[in-house]
């Protein structure tokens, strides 16, 4: 029942579909994380977002994270979906679903996966404000830098 499904798409994400990929009768708990577009970051109003991926490597790094989970917890009922392109407020950019026999594992794995995705998967977020835009996380120009928020 090893799901290990990866979806990188320009279409709207459906958490129920991603969750359905990992469900099985051997599992007692399913944890789903859905990252959505916040309407403000660092006090500024966000009007929309864009995500850009390095698709071949994104897929490889998602698979690497699945391998890490399999190695550490012995669990392969995991699925991930990442939206790319233009997103409106409230739309999901990332969905992670994990099923495990016991809930503590399912929660731990879901948290681990989201953290790792935000560390190593090459997908970038651009926030658009009414008066400009910013590639989140791209420091390098001190006078223009500002704190970013995790989500």
């Amino acid at each position: 029942m090893a799901a290990q499904k990866i979806l990188i798409t320009g279409e709207p994400l459906d958490a129920a579909l991603v969750t359905a990929l990992v469900k099985s009768n051997a599992n007692g708990g399913v944890v789903t994380f859905e990252g959505t577009t916040r309407d403000e970051t660092g006090g500024r109003t966000v009007v929309r977002l864009e995500y850009e991926a390095y698709p071949e490597m994104a897929e490889k790094t998602f698979q690497q994270i699945f391998d890490e989970v399999k190695e550490r917890w012995g669990i392969s009922d995991v699925a991930v979906a990442h939206r790319i392109g233009r997103l409106e407020l409230g739309e999901a950019s990332l969905i992670v679903a994990v099923a495990a026999p016991h809930r503590a594992e399912a929660f731990a794995i879901a948290m681990y996966m989201v953290d790792r995705i935000k560390e190593i998967v090459p997908i970038w977020k651009k926030e658009f404000f009414e008066d400009g835009s910013v590639w989140v996380g791209s420091a390098g120009d001190p006078q223009g830098s500002r704190s970013s928020q995790t989500h």
Partner: protein, 100 residues
């Protein structure tokens, strides 16, 4: 530099790099024995507006994260990876493109 001294590599540019350079991809011929660091220097000379981004950039060669002393091989695909969407937490800075 004779052609037998050179290796051809591809630089792939995403997000803020793509916007600053105005291209998704650069083909370059570098001297044999060049490293990832040399490729970054090459890009910085060509597009100085990428230099401020480089300290926080990771590099992948053929879709694997790689150190800057890696010696390039012919046809390597080098990707510049600025900090990714969520960053390493709430302390990461983002680069502001707005004026003022």
């Amino acid at each position: 530099m004779t052609s037998s001294d050179g290796i051809t590599i591809t630089l792939r540019l995403f997000a803020i790099y793509r916007e600053r350079v105005g291209q998704e991809c650069i083909e370059a011929t570098l001297q044999s024995g060049s490293t990832v660091a040399d490729a970054l220097t090459y890009l910085g000379e060509l597009h100085p507006n990428t230099l401020p981004l480089m300290p926080t950039t990771m590099v992948a060669v053929n879709q694997e994260y790689t150190e800057r002393d890696y010696v390039l091989q012919p046809n390597d695909e080098i990707a510049l990876i600025p900090p990714v969407s969520g960053g390493q937490g709430a302390t990461l800075d983002s680069y502001d493109l707005t004026v003022g």
